[in-house]
């Protein structure tokens, strides 16, 4: 039916955009000052003129730009994103190793911020001028303005030296490796601080959003009808009003996936979390261009995927869109 058509349209659009990202990547690496052959030679630790000439031939740098672009795109379709001299590994493998850790972090921060943000918003919407509501407003302003890496450092300071009850670096306890359930618990313990740091920014935003939408919803006719029917308050809010509060949050959360991912770069750097963000930091330090550009591409893939999922969820949550009648 038309859902299938819609999704395939979106996938085609996504394909086009990702192709454009690859072309951008190609242009960036060629527009950057410095000869790529010299850069590679530099990464290898220096090379003679002969070796550099050989590198030019090997990487096709002696060919025309258009030919080089097609070679690059051809390589990418076979999963060849280049080779990282610093990590001494193909870039694709590197990214494959790092994606899970980043997804744990980003998804738990996302879940945390949507749940807590919505709850705070709902509670404060019930008494928009109450003390709790004003507290939430202050928290949301503060969460918006605090640099995420600074919040991370402050939490690291708090739990690293003042009140050391949580691990502050890495993803597992390296000194005491664990297996099975103990391993899962270990990772979860290490996840608390990074996920909280990243989540706080979005708790701030979503609580504000939920508050405004809940205040609107609570004055809407359908809520008055539900109350007039004698439904208990928990069902009026939890079922009728919540649905219309969640729609904008789901939309914004989906659209912000890219921001969340970029925030993860900073948070992972603070807590030495071994994900893509940490990889970005390391590849920036080493001027490891192939890795950096591949991360940019894969983050675009993740953002695209998040957009498509958001669109689907949106259709599920909002019946008006699902039926296709506008």
């Amino acid at each position: 039916m038309n859902l299938v058509l819609h999704v395939s349209k979106q996938l085609a659009n996504a394909f086009g955009l990702l192709l454009a990202v690859l072309v951008l990547n190609f242009c960036l690496i060629h527009a950057a000052p410095g000869d790529p052959a010299l850069v590679i030679a530099g990464e290898m630790g220096g090379a003679s003129a002969d070796v550099i000439a050989a590198l030019r031939v090997k990487y096709g740098l002696d060919k025309s730009m258009l030919e080089q672009l097609f070679t690059y795109l051809g390589k990418v379709t076979t999963g060849d994103f280049g080779y990282s001299y610093y990590f001494n590994e193909p870039v694709l493998g590197l990214i494959g190793q790092r994606i899970p850790a980043t997804l744990y972090l980003v998804l738990s921060a996302l879940a945390m911020s949507v749940v807590i943000g919505t709850l705070l918003g709902i509670i404060s919407a019930r008494k928009p001028n109450g003390l709790f509501s004003q507290g939430v407003t202050v928290i949301s302003l503060a969460g918006y303005a605090a640099p995420v890496f600074w919040t991370g450092l402050m939490l690291l300071l708090l739990f690293g030296s003042v009140w050391p009850i949580l691990p502050v670096t890495g993803m597992t306890d390296v000194a005491r490796p664990k297996a099975g359930l103990a391993y899962v618990l270990d990772v979860m313990q290490h996840l608390v601080l990074p996920a909280t740091t990243l989540g706080l920014v979005y708790i701030a935003q979503y609580s504000r959003l939920a508050r405004v939408n809940m205040i609107d919803a609570l004055t809407a006719d359908y809520v008055r009808t539900a109350r007039a029917k004698g439904l208990p308050e928990i069902i009026v809010i939890g079922k009728h009003a919540l649905r219309n509060t969640l729609i904008p949050i789901v939309t914004v959360a989906g659209l912000q996936f890219g921001h969340l991912f970029a925030g993860a770069v900073l948070v992972e750097t603070v807590f030495s979390w071994p994900g893509m963000g940490r990889l970005v930091f390391e590849s920036i330090l080493r001027r490891d261009y192939p890795t950096l550009l591949a991360v940019l591409f894969f983050s675009a893939v993740l953002v695209m995927a998040a957009n498509i999922v958001t669109d689907l969820v949106y259709r599920l949550v909002d019946p008006r869109i699902r039926s296709g009648g506008r």
């Binding site: 950057a32 450092l153 402050m154 953002v303």
Partner: protein, 300 residues
């Protein structure tokens, strides 16, 4: 013809001072003054700007000089302590604020100029131009902005100019979407049709007729863009991608972050400076929003 035009302009200019009292800007300013949060934000921001402009002269310690032993806690000599090289933190804050605020302001300006140009062209013309520009905007939106900025700075060099341009180049899509929506809303209204019927060209219609009416939300978004750009500069510098030769709040955080557990003051103060500045700017943004969007004022 020309003489008629010039005489037509004259009465207008003489009337300007009289009109200023009831001009929309004055009205908005009065409205803004009624928002305590907005005024508080403006006062704090002005204090910060004054501190960065006058502070370095008054405090008299060079932020790049070794002022004492490395990682000295705050004391009578170095009020906020010293960093890992023994440089004075307070002096760094005063001097570094200049670069941070300048990057924020200029990058926000670039963001708004690109965003408004793209958005107004797309929204005004519609059709294939709109489709094409929306595609370009969409393309920039799937690249995580901070990550894209990191790539640009890594490739094109760590100078203040590159950092500022990079932040501007990656941040414009939301301004473009906002402007486009406003133009779509306004372009078929009667006053625009009337101006077109009176012979106004596209350039005149965009710049003189539609844009002024689209400005209120753009001004708010421009204010908030300054805060976002400051956070971006901080993030880039924190990752070691700032200009290493220019003191900035982000640079202080990035350079000292490995010493956080031994010397809390080295990162706490620069981060707090960014926090307070961005908070002040977003309060101003909220205040402006309330002042120029009276319809929204009653909402939470």
């Amino acid at each position: 013809m020309t003489t008629i035009k010039s005489t037509a302009v004259k009465p207008d200019t003489t009337m300007l001072p009289a009109r200023a009292a009831t001009s929309p800007i004055a009205a908005a300013l009065r409205q803004f003054a009624r928002s305590p949060a907005g005024v508080a934000g403006a006062v704090v921001l002005i204090l910060i700007i004054l501190a960065t402009l006058l502070g370095p002269h008054l405090y008299g310690v060079d932020p790049l000089d070794i002022a004492g032993a490395p990682l000295t806690p705050p004391d009578a000599d170095a009020w906020l302590g010293t960093d890992y090289l023994g440089r004075d933190i307070l002096s760094g804050l005063l001097q570094g604020g200049r670069a941070t605020l300048a990057v924020g302001g200029v990058a926000a300006l670039i963001t708004i100029v690109i965003g408004v140009t793209m958005g107004s062209l797309a929204g005004f013309f519609g059709g294939p131009i709109d489709t094409a520009l929306v595609k370009v905007t969409e393309f920039f939106q799937i690249l995580p902005p901070l990550l894209f900025a990191m790539v640009l700075v890594t490739l094109f060099g760590q100078s203040l100019v590159v950092v500022t341009l990079a932040i501007g180049v990656v941040s414009w899509p939301s301004a473009a979407r906002l402007t486009r929506a406003e133009f779509l809303r306004l372009r078929n209204l009667d006053f625009v049709k009337a101006s077109r019927a009176a012979g106004g060209g596209n350039g005149h219609l965009i710049l003189r007729v539609v844009l002024p009416n689209a400005l209120p939300p753009i001004i708010v978004s421009a204010t908030l863009a300054i805060g976002v750009a400051i956070l971006f500069e901080g993030g880039l510098s924190f990752l070691g991608l700032g200009d290493p030769n220019t003191m900035s709040w982000g640079l202080m955080l990035g350079q000292n972050r490995n010493y956080v557990l031994d010397a809390w003051w080295t990162v706490t103060f620069p981060g707090a400076a960014i926090f307070i500045a961005v908070l002040a700017i977003s309060l101003i943004g909220d205040g402006i929003n309330d002042a120029i969007n009276p319809r929204l004022r009653k909402r939470g």
